[in-house]
Amino acid sequence: MSNTNQADLLPALHRLQEKFGYIPDHAIADLAKAHNMAQAEVVGVIGFYHDFRRTPPGRQRLRICRAESCQAMGADALAMHASTQLGVEFGATTADGEVTLEAAYCLGNCACSPAVMLDDDLHGRVSVERLDAILAEGRGV
């Protein structure tokens, strides 16, 4: 029989990340104890899932869909523009700590391609101009 205690681990990690933006190192020992696991196991689980971060992210998270449907509608140009505009590669955070740029492989908005997501806000049929406007709005400009 599996350990049902461990079953609460993912929800707990989501809650932590929602609160802090990442999973702080000092939380690992508590998590391990609370879920009756070894610390190494907790770290292993965190490492497996792309959503969980061990370091603080930018203030905002910009995800650009780079999957087929969006690609067929110009997502590559959009991705290149975002990378140039923000001055970062995918997976990195801007120097001012404002935006973390990430690639997504499908946001479920394929019929309104190309799609991007700023934090939890989904945007469809995004042109280069629209992306600039979305980013400006996100910065509160």
């Binding site: 689980v45 780079r66 690609q71």
Partner: protein, 492 residues
């Protein structure tokens, strides 16, 4: 008299401005002293027209779209509350050919009702299947699903009745119903649409599955990329529990069914069922060997039904109308309807629910309207990144799961190849990607591109593909025809 205006709350519609349009309509109506009631419905699936706003006139809904906030004053000027003519006018929604030509069974309420109104759900045929199931013996429920010929809509196409019977006949004790809502394959969005547009339908389907196999607990494993679906499902579960549909006494029958919502964490591979179950247990989502089948030893080691969202959402209709009625749709051994998701470089992308048997050409041109860029369509990707790229000559082939499997290039089908390990990659030295993929999802995409490239080189009868730039008009039809089927021993 207060008039009703329908503005979709579907994430995709909101992504192209439905929220701002909604606020503009409210303001404009207030300024003009008009009384309107705004209903937030799901999307009709006519995505090229989103935001698609409907005005109800004498019980009939008139469609206008795509509406931008700046169009709203003009629409009021044109008298849209009386169905006035306007450049964005499309006439009665039900008469739009894209919708009229469809056979909407699972998506019957999609875009019609307010997703969170149980009253609306009941008024449009909801809960009839569950009420019927509560009066039936477990075997009879499974028989109805079996008779309907329902096969898994997640991609592997395994007969749902056989899976349910296995769990039903498994040893007693705790059993589980798990809904796979980790819709990770690119090009697919029907699960998201259904969860956002008709969440009670999924809940009803899961309760019926529970009654059939003797499970009193369910889990919906939802991918974290769908925050809007999460909110809708959370609300729907609270409402269903409050109204006695979920909980200790399902519709007063004395039967119990509890439903838990579980958030994934961005692991693409967790769409595979053994990996998904590991994830719910709080472990790394590693793919497990089968046997044992999840139907016998699944979640927490107990017999578990793992079904996709659309599979479970198809069940209420089957129970309400009978297996024979469902079977009457479709062709050959593929029965019922399939929601096709048209996306990519198409003029009219959207959701098309039709009976099995429609050809790709009909889907691409009659529904899709050809490519958005106006150039000829040269390749079609069918079934997501682990599916197949098909040439245009395949487009008259009926879209039957089995037939498509046979006619598609063999390598493409086996293509769900070991694409979840980084090492596979290095075996393709000629490919332009030298770095290891950063995620299994990226890996799957690369694998799809490799298959596309390899196929382009091999196919002599279609030489243009070889030289075509990667931005060649290409569109995706997703119906998850073979998704991750490799992992399922029953795929074939």
């Amino acid at each position: 008299m207060t008039q009703r205006i329908f503005v979709p709350r579907d994430a995709s519609a909101v992504s192209v401005g439905a929220e701002r349009v909604c606020r503009t309509i409210e303001n404009e109506a207030r300024n003009r002293g008009l009384e309107v009631e705004i209903v937030r419905n799901g999307s009709r699936g006519l995505y090229w027209l989103e935001p698609l706003i409907e005005v109800e006139i004498d019980g009939q809904r008139i469609a206008y779209g795509p509406v931008a906030p700046e169009d709203v004053p003009g629409l009021f000027e044109a008298g849209w509350l009386r169905g006035g003519a306007h450049a964005l006018f499309h006439g009665p929604s039900e008469e739009i050919p894209y919708l009229k030509r469809q056979t909407r069974l699972t998506f019957a309420r999609m875009g019609v009702t307010d997703p969170l109104s149980l009253e609306d759900y009941r008024a449009h045929g909801g809960l009839k299947g569950l009420e019927r199931a509560l009066d039936m013996k477990a075997e009879d429920i499974v028989d109805a699903v079996d008779t309907g010929g329902l096969r898994g809509r997640g991609g592997a196409g395994f007969p749902t009745g056989i899976k349910w019977r296995t769990v039903m006949n498994a040893d007693g004790g705790q059993k589980y119903i798990v809904c796979n809502a980790d819709e990770g394959d690119s090009g697919t969005f029907s699960d998201r649409m259904l969860m956002e547009g008709d969440p009670f339908c999924l809940i009803e389907g899961m309760i019926i599955a529970g009654l059939a196999v003797g499970a009193d607990t369910g889990y919906i494993y939802l991918r974290s990329e769908y925050p809007d679906a999460w909110d809708v499902l959370e609300d729907a579960i609270v409402t269903a529990t409050r109204e006695g549909i979920l909980g200790a006494n399902v519709l007063g029958s004395g039967r119990r069914f509890e439903l838990n919502l579980f958030k994934g964490a961005g692991a693409y591979v967790c769409g595979e069922e053994t990996s998904l179950l590991e994830s719910i247990e709080g472990k790394r989502g590693l793919v497990g060997a089968k046997p044992p089948l999840p139907a016998l030893e699944g979640l927490f080691g107990r017999p578990t039904v793992v079904n996709n969202v659309i599979t479970l959402a198809s069940v209420p209709w089957i129970l309400a109308h009978g297996g024979e009625a469902y079977k009457a749709h479709g062709s050959g051994r593929s029965r019922g309807t399939l929601p096709f998701q048209l996306a990519g470089n198409l003029k009219r992308p959207g959701l098309v629910e039709v009976a099995f048997g429609m050809t790709l050409r009909e889907l691409l041109y009659d529904f899709g309207g050809g490519s958005a860029s106006g150039r000829p369509i040269r390749a079609v990707q069918v079934g997501g990144p682990l599916g197949a790229y098909l040439p245009s000559r395949a487009s008259t082939c009926p879209s039957i799961t089995r037939r498509l499997r046979q006619s598609a290039p063999r390598w493409a089908m086996a293509g769900s190849l070991p694409s979840t390990t980084a090492s596979t990659w290095r075996k393709w030295p000629a490919m332009p990607w030298n770095s290891a993929p950063s995620s299994p999802a990226e890996n799957a995409h690369r694998a799809a591109s490799v298959r596309f490239a390899a196929w382009s080189c091999w196919t002599a009868c279609w030489p243009r593909v070889r030289n075509a730039p990667t931005t060649t008009p290409c569109c995706a039809i997703s119906a998850r025809l073979c998704w991750k089927g490799r992992f399922a021993p029953w795929a074939g």
